[in-house]
Structure formats: C-alpha cells, structure tokens
C-alpha cells in the first residue's frame, strides 16, 4: 500500500518535472483555458461508457462463466466435453479479431438466418468482452469449486440435497470466498481490454483520446492523461478488491 502510494507520487513528480521541459504542452488540457477545459470534459466524458461497458460485460461474463464451468466438472465426460472445448477455443482467440468478427461478421450470419439485427458498437464490444472473458471466469469458478473438500458434497448428498441444492446452499457459499478475489482481478482485465472497443467506434476513453489527438496534435499529453484515467479506474477497483479480500479473510478466520 505504502509502496503503491509512493510510486504514484513519484510518477506525478516525474510528469510535473517533465512538463517544465520543451517536449510537453499541457495547455491542450489546461482547465483554466476554455479550450483546455472543453478538451478535458470531452476526454473525461468517456468514463461513463468505459465503466458501463466494463460492468455489463463483467456481469455477463460471470453468468456465462458459471454456466460453462458447472458442466465442466461433471463426472460424465460427454457432459464435460462441450465445456472444455468452449474454454480452449475461446481462450485461443485474441480479443481484437474476435471483436471484428462479432461486429462485422456476426450481422452477416444473422442476416443469412433472416434476422435483421444491427449490432452497434456498444453491444458488439460487450458481447465480445463477455464471451472472451467467460473462458477465464469459468476456470476461476472451476478451481474455486473444486477447492472445496469432497466431503462437503458427500455430506450434502447424505442429507438428501440434490445437485442444485448442494451447489446453492453448500458449495457456492464456501467457494465464493475463493472465487471473488480472482474474479475481481478479472474485472480489472476487462476494464483495460474495453479500450479495444474504440476501434469499432465506441465513444469510450480511448476513442475520445484518439479523436482529440487527431484535432489537437498533442499525442503525448492526451495519451498520458488517458493512461492516468485507466490508472485511476484500476486503482479504485484494486482498492475495492483489497477491501473485499480483507473482509473475507476476516470472515474465514472466524
């Protein structure tokens, strides 16, 4: 924690030091001037989309991941197989090609099936992020659930609970403590990967920075601010994760 605070401060000092040099032209986002103020507002307005995009994608990914993970733990290999194939396949596709495929390719398939659906940038990005990430969340669920002692499942069975009751009342409440921290980490990953949505025209943080660079010709300052924007977002989540971990750790030691 202290190390992190220290590194943030030193980074700020570094930037401040640089700003006195000739390479930097902070006027472009200087809030005291009208133009700078407008530019900053334009850039910061991307937070809404980035956050909304990340949250919806993360929630979908968590649901999808669970749906994929549960059959993946079956004793029956034929039930297990589709889950394994899904995970191996999705994990192997880089995010950007998948994004192109969903945004440009999927509507063609839908059209050939008689569905005239246009996938806009927002939902295209969400679908791609959610699917891409679900392979990882599925593995997080699997390892969390499998780390719960087999005796718990057996005890649940001997008092007559069926599979879904066992999951709901016995296994998941225990596994959630081990699943949540890595799941939250995965959320940080989604926030960062949401930057790819800029290439299909989604007006989030990165897209706005790109657009401003084109008109202002100050890539250094604008992209520096962009990085700081992500840094702030990720740090907030990261503090949240730590708080969560402490809370759960305290629970566990009870």
């Amino acid at each position: 924690m202290q190390l992190r605070t220290f590194s943030i401060i030193s980074l700020c000092l570094l930037l401040a030091g640089c700003s006195s040099g000739g390479a930097w032209g902070w006027y472009v986002i200087d809030p005291t001037t009208q133009q700078g103020y407008n530019n900053i507002r334009f850039l910061l307005n991307g937070f809404g989309s980035t956050i909304l995009l990340s949250i919806i994608a993360a929630v979908l990914s968590m649901c999808l991941g669970l749906i994929v993970a549960l059959p993946g733990m079956s004793h029956n290999r034929w039930v297990r197989l589709p889950s394994r194939i899904y995970i191996e396949f999705i994990r192997a596709i880089p995010l950007l090609p998948m994004l192109f495929w969903v945004f440009y390719g999927l509507p063609v398939i839908l059209k050939s099936m008689g569905i005239n659906a246009n996938i806009d940038a927002f939902w295209g990005a969400i679908i791609t992020l959610a699917i891409s990430d679900s392979a990882f969340t599925a593995e997080i669920y699997r390892s969390g659930i499998q780390s719960i002692n087999k005796g718990q499942t057996e005890a649940a069975k001997t008092i007559g609970l069926n599979y879904s009751q066992t999951m709901r009342y016995v296994i998941l409440p225990q596994a959630i403590k081990r699943i949540l921290p890595p799941l939250a980490n995965q959320f940080i990953y989604i926030v960062k990967m949401s930057a790819f949505a800029s290439v299909i025209g989604m007006q989030e943080l990165t897209r706005r920075a790109n657009e401003l660079v084109v008109t202002e010709y100050r890539p250094l300052e604008i992209y520096t601010l962009l990085i700081l924007e992500y840094l702030v977002l990720v740090l907030i989540i990261s503090f949240g994760v730590r708080w969560l971990e402490r809370k759960m750790g305290a629970d566990e030691s009870k």
Partner: protein
C-alpha cells in the same frame, strides 16, 4: 419380515484394484453391526456403497425392499432412509450448528423454519449440546462437532445409520462422548452399521461383528464368540494387534 439391508455378491473395483469381493451381508431391522479390519480392507467402501457414495460394479444392494441401481429415484429413496456420519465430520463450516441441522429438513423434507428448528433443538438435547446451537462448527471441539454431525443425520429421521470410523479423527478424551451418543442410539433400536476400531464399544453395542480383509468378509459372528474364539488366523492376528493397546 424383510431385512433392513440385503447385500448379495457385491463387487467393487477401483480401476484394476478390487476393493470388494463377493460381499454377502444381511442386516435385520434394529440390528447393530460393527465392521472392523485392517485399513484398505474395504470397510468404508462397503458402507459407502450402501448409500451410493460409491457405485458398485456388480451384485445387489437392497435397502428396505428398494433395490439400489443407477436410477436416481432409487438412490434418492434409499438416501432418505440412510443417515451417514463421516470420520472428518464434514459439517458445513459456513453455517451455524442450527443451520447445519435445519438445512436438510427444510430443503428436502419441506419443513418450515420453526418446525425444523424445533426438531433440531430436540435432537441437540439428545446429543447433549443444545447450548452450542448458535455457534459456528469451527468453535466446537472435535467431539462436539461429531455429535453435531450425528444430530444432522438424525434430523432427517433415517431408519438406518452408517458410521464411517466416527472416532478416528478425535482426540482420545473426546472419543467416549461420541461413542456414548452412538450407544444411546443403539439402545433406542436404531439399525446401524459402524466401521470402527473401538473394540470396547463393539463389545458393548454390537449384535454382530464383521471382520473384513482385502475386500472380503473373513469372519462374522456374535461379539462374544468373535472376541473370545476367532476362527481364522487373520482375524486372530488383527485382534491381537489391536487389543494390545
């Protein structure tokens, strides 16, 4: 009258290892059976087959006239009649003692919360730890945890109880309190199969002793005959080793 449990020519393999070889065993209603034998002899596997925690490969298991097969209905029907207590207690650590006891009755038997809690408290009285109801399992001693585990099974009102080395994970000073509870149950007429090395308990509570070795039933008989005049060498050797202490 039908038997509580009938087992005929039961075989169980783990890969190429045969864990159970042609097991035949009948248990009458109200009968108390103690199974003993060296580790790896198949005792636990046998009772785990009865409540389908393990699937047997061939042979027949009938509990209260219901034949156990891969059919989910038969597994559920038998599961409803058979309670099980594990060596490692396997209490649900995220639930309080009371919640451990009421989960099954509420979710499986459809009792209301107050009915389930009333039943749970009655049974906690029986195992003599009603004052622990609101605690978490981790706050209890091993002996208390195992008594909660027994109570959790009893809350489902089983007709048959299986005990898989119920005292093996306990500190010596806690063994008696758990065995007392099991003896009480036995005296109330519960049908039970107990896998244990506690021979004092066996003499006190068993109607019949079963000695297993290498997946087979080697010897079976009343405790008096079993302890005083074992018929086979293997059984004699085993008893000598275990009774020396």
């Amino acid at each position: 009258m039908a038997k509580a449990i009938e087992i005929k020519r039961l075989n169980k393999w783990f890969g190429s290892y045969q864990a159970l070889k042609d097991i035949d065993l009948d248990v009458s209603h109200g009968e108390r059976i103690v199974i003993c034998g060296p580790s790896g002899s198949g005792k636990s596997t046998l009772i785990r087959c009865i409540n389908s925690l393990e699937h047997h490969d061939s042979g027949q298991i009938t509990v209260d006239n219901i034949e156990l097969n891969q059919n989910k209905a038969s597994i559920a029907a038998i599961g409803a009649e058979v309670g099980m207590v594990f060596q490692q207690f396997n209490l649900f650590p995220h639930l309080s003692v009371l919640q451990n006891l009421t989960l099954g009755p509420m979710k499986v038997r459809g009792l209301t919360k107050s009915e389930a809690e009333e039943r749970a408290m009655r049974i906690l009285e029986r195992v003599q730890i009603p004052e622990q109801a609101q605690k978490q399992p981790s706050e209890l001693s091993g002996g208390q945890q195992q008594r909660v585990a027994i109570a959790r099974s009893l809350c489902m009102e089983p007709k048959i109880m299986l005990f898989d080395e119920p005292t093996s994970a306990l500190d010596p000073e806690m063994i008696a309190e758990v065995l007392d509870v099991i003896v009480d149950l036995a005296e109330e007429g519960m049908t039970m199969i107990v896998v244990t090395h506690e021979m004092g308990f066996a003499r006190r509570a068993a109607d019949r002793m079963v000695f297993m070795d290498k997946g087979e039933i080697i010897e079976m008989g009343a405790p008096k005959d079993f302890f005083e005049a074992p018929k086979t060498v293997r059984c004699k050797t085993f008893l000598n080793q275990i009774l020396q202490h």
